[in-house]
């Protein structure tokens, strides 16, 4: 067969496996790339033909997702997780070490086409970093000996399936369990409860429980389910948001790894309550290693009558679950972007209203909930709303899973009743020397030691679960700068203030952090940040300036230290004179600025 025929055949098979459905475009492109290492223009055109889509649409999707490549890529594709917690664990040194040993530059493919080494946003292994992905599979606990082995494996072209299993081991690290993680749950119990007591009764328990969305925003889950149940629509859908893109969060990974049945049960329960027959798990691409075990769980549930048609023998109780893999886009955690992505499109958030509960997947009423929310709902159906509400605070019932990482002795998952103080958490995880915490991830809030008596709950410090500890050894601004880069990389580019503002903010942070800023720049960051908070189209852009604004309030000294000395004012500002050259060459990287010593020299008479 000619090469182009083989290409056509390969693509045809993959598209057929996905039923030729354009909603599966992202999944199809993932599979095609798995076979061909990258998506050439020819490949994309073939996919477009097979699906009867415009080529520009296929290309648009391919260009949007970080893990889809429209330029040649090595057959081994290594991406270092570049969250601040990975940096704390020394990932930059390891990154350069690996590049040196492989003879490749960061972000480039080796001349023999065998390997590419780059970086990616947090892969959700913060409690067991430094972490990376190789061809999408999670690598944990990297160190130099491990990298040496990897160099050998790559150079010998050993297939991934023959790499040592321990490289890919992912620990759960559950350090503290309460009602969600600690109590046994009998498979099918929640579904038996809804069959016995009817959906209305379950909704009453949900209302009583006070359960709020665990994805971070804290919307009342019962209200969401009721609104979707009452919305007119031909079909309804249940979507589990397992995108978990917030740097520093990994509790959904642990739930999917150790408690998948509980989550699936919560989704099926929701399906029964709102009248949906189809559920989706949107699993972030970084967690593809979970796919086989999740599929096995689903298959087992079908076999024992907990999924599929006539669930538990009840005629007409039909519900099944499909897993969609993301492909490296934090914005796809935003529920309307997630739905776009589920439909096979690029993940740009929709205009809201209308909300997904009335116009979601394929414009039908859809419940989108976080993984933890579904798990809690399943428990509530069995144990009752009052039981759940006995824990927590007035406005925040039940418990919260926290993902602890950074400077602490025992990173991992901690389940607490809502209302726990930051101080208590720090004691439990062995963070003796905390200077500050990045709560709820870069999109959340940075708090300093003055606020350690605050409580974790919606009334005070709301969180989706990320909790990154910075000890006094750390420069807070390293974190701020890392987060500023994160948002530039993850902005979807749809709206002006986020698309442009994130880059402007990163440049200002870099300027000050490298010692070239003045008080004026701090004020500029504040002004820009305030515009972004109110002007952006979605939560990504609205929260992107938080680390900058919070650190200016909470750690002013960290910024002040970096300001150019105003006591000594050179007559001629050499660095400023270089500004035009910087502009013309479009450079804003640290090397484009003079260092402080050079400046002093420049100012000598």
């Amino acid at each position: 067969m000619a090469e182009s025929d083989i290409l056509t055949q390969t693509i045809h098979e993959i598209v057929q496996r996905h039923g030729g459905a354009p909603t599966r475009l992202l999944q199809i492109l993932r599979d095609v790339q798995d076979r061909l290492t990258w998506l050439s223009p020819e490949t994309m055109d073939r996919v477009a033909e097979e699906l009867d889509l415009s080529p520009i649409k296929v290309r648009g999707v391919a260009e949007f997702y970080s893990f889809l490549y429209t330029a040649p890529r090595g057959s081994y594709d290594v991406l270092f997780s570049d969250n601040i917690t990975d940096r704390m664990l020394g990932n930059r040194e390891l990154l350069h070490y690996l590049c040196d040993r492989l003879g490749v530059h960061v972000g480039e493919t080796r001349a023999d086409g065998r390997v590419t080494v780059g970086t990616t946003s947090c892969t959700g292994m913060c409690d067991q970093g430094p972490a990376a992905l190789v061809n999408g599979h999670a690598l944990t606990r990297l160190d130099k000996p491990r990298l040496d082995r990897i160099v050998e494996l790559v150079n010998r072209q050993t297939p991934l399936t023959e790499w040592p299993r321990e490289f890919f081991e992912v620990a759960s690290n559950i350090r503290r369990a309460d009602i969600l993680l600690g109590r046994h749950f009998a498979d099918g119990a929640a579904l038996r409860a809804v069959l016995k007591r009817r959906p209305e009764a379950i909704l009453e328990e949900m209302v009583k429980s006070g359960l709020r969305g665990q994805g971070g925003a804290g919307f009342k889950s019962a209200a969401k389910w009721i609104s979707c149940r009452n919305a007119p629509g031909e079909e309804k859908y249940v979507v589990c948001n397992a995108d978990e893109g917030e740097p520093g969060t990994f509790k959904d990974r642990v739930l999917m790894q150790d408690f998948a049945d509980l989550v699936f049960e919560g989704m099926t329960l929701c399906g029964r309550v709102i009248g949906a027959r189809q559920g989706f798990v949107y699993l972030r691409g970084e967690y593809r290693y979970l796919l086989p075990s999740l599929q096995a769980h689903l298959q087992r549930r079908r076999e024992v009558g907990l999924l599929g048609s006539d669930i538990l023998g009840e005629p007409g109780f039909d519900f099944d679950i499909d897993i969609h893999l993301g492909a490296g886009a934090y914005v796809c955690g935003e529920e309307s972007a997630l739905i776009e992505s589920l439909e096979g499109k690029h993940g740009v958030p929709r205009i809201r209203p209308p909300f997904p509960t009335t116009h979601g997947y394929l414009n039908q009423p859809t419940v989108v909930n976080n993984v933890e929310t579904f798990a809690a709902a399943a428990k509530i159906a069995v144990e009752g709303g009052a039981w759940f509400a006995s824990r927590g605070t007035a406005e925040s019932k039940g418990t919260k899973l926290l993902s602890l990482s950074g400077d602490c002795e025992r990173p991992g998952i901690y389940e607490y009743p809502f209302g726990v103080t930051v101080r208590r958490v720090l004691e439990d995880c062995g963070a003796r020397d905390a200077q500050g915490i990045q709560m709820a991830g870069p999109a959340g809030h940075m708090i300093s030691a003055r606020q350690f008596d605050r409580r974790i709950c919606f009334e005070d410090l709301a969180t989706g679960g990320s909790f990154m500890v910075f000890s006094h050894r750390r420069d807070i601004l390293d974190g701020v700068r890392n987060f500023a880069h994160f948002f530039v990389h993850e902005s979807c580019g749809f709206c002006t203030p986020c698309r442009v503002g994130t880059s402007l903010l990163r440049d200002l942070v870099t300027k000050v952090h490298t010692g070239h800023g003045t008080r004026y720049d701090l004020e500029e960051m504040r002004k820009l940040g305030r515009i972004m908070q109110v002007a952006c189209h979605c939560g990504l852009g609205q929260t992107a300036p938080n680390p900058v604004l919070d650190s200016l309030d909470q750690f002013p000294e960290a910024w002040e230290r970096r300001l150019r000395s105003t006591a000594f004012e050179p007559a001629f500002d050499l660095d400023a004179a270089l500004e035009q050259a910087r502009q013309l060459t479009g450079r804003s990287d640290p090397d484009a600025y003079l260092r402080e010593e050079e400046l002093m020299l420049g100012a000598m008479p």
Binding site: D45, S491, F494, T496, V500, V534
Partner: protein, 246 residues
Amino acid sequence: MSEDQSFMLDGRRVPFQDGQTVMTAALAAGIYIPHLCFNPEFAPHGSCRVCLVKVNGRVQAACATPAASGQIVQNETGELREIRRGILQMLFVEGNHVCPACEKSGACQLQAVAYYVGMLAPHYTHFYPRRPVDASHPEAVIDFNRCILCELCVRASRDVDGKNIFAVQGRGIQAHLVVNTTSGKLGATDFSLADKAAQVCPTGAILTKHRGYEIPIGQRLYDRKPISVVGDVATVAESKGGRRHE
């Protein structure tokens, strides 16, 4: 009954009908809310964020907010002007807008809105992106340097012309306008000046070839009256310096 519906905008009562947004209702009442990606002939897009108003105390895009009875809308306030100005400043540094060298200067909606919100000079550091100019088409030029990603040409070509010639590709600051051909050149498409897509660009990104400077500087569309009085380039006839075909 729907005639009775109204909301308050800067102290004025604005009537609206079901299905209208704050923007379309204001427009119908003769009130100007600055905008770039909005065009009354197309579904709202909500991307430029220039039309931000305060609705019941919350900043929202007027073009994407359904009108509702009893809303209190603020439009001309110092705070909103400052936010809008910030957004215009961002658009100007993101692309390469050398107004004195641009054929559309004076008849450019981007420029006119910038003046309207009090932006007289660029503020942020320029990005100076490297973007090519596409002169492959016999009748039209696309200067990507002036594109603000409003997607009006995308929508017009797809929804009105049925040609689907344009699209925005790439994520974040990499987002850019592309032409739907293998070569990426406009010359390889069936684009025509008669297309709706040729009549909607609010900037000088899409230009007609072999014609230029027909109306002298000083007498151009926005040279004498502000955009709040003149209206959008897409609604003004070509003979008067706008983009609409007669």
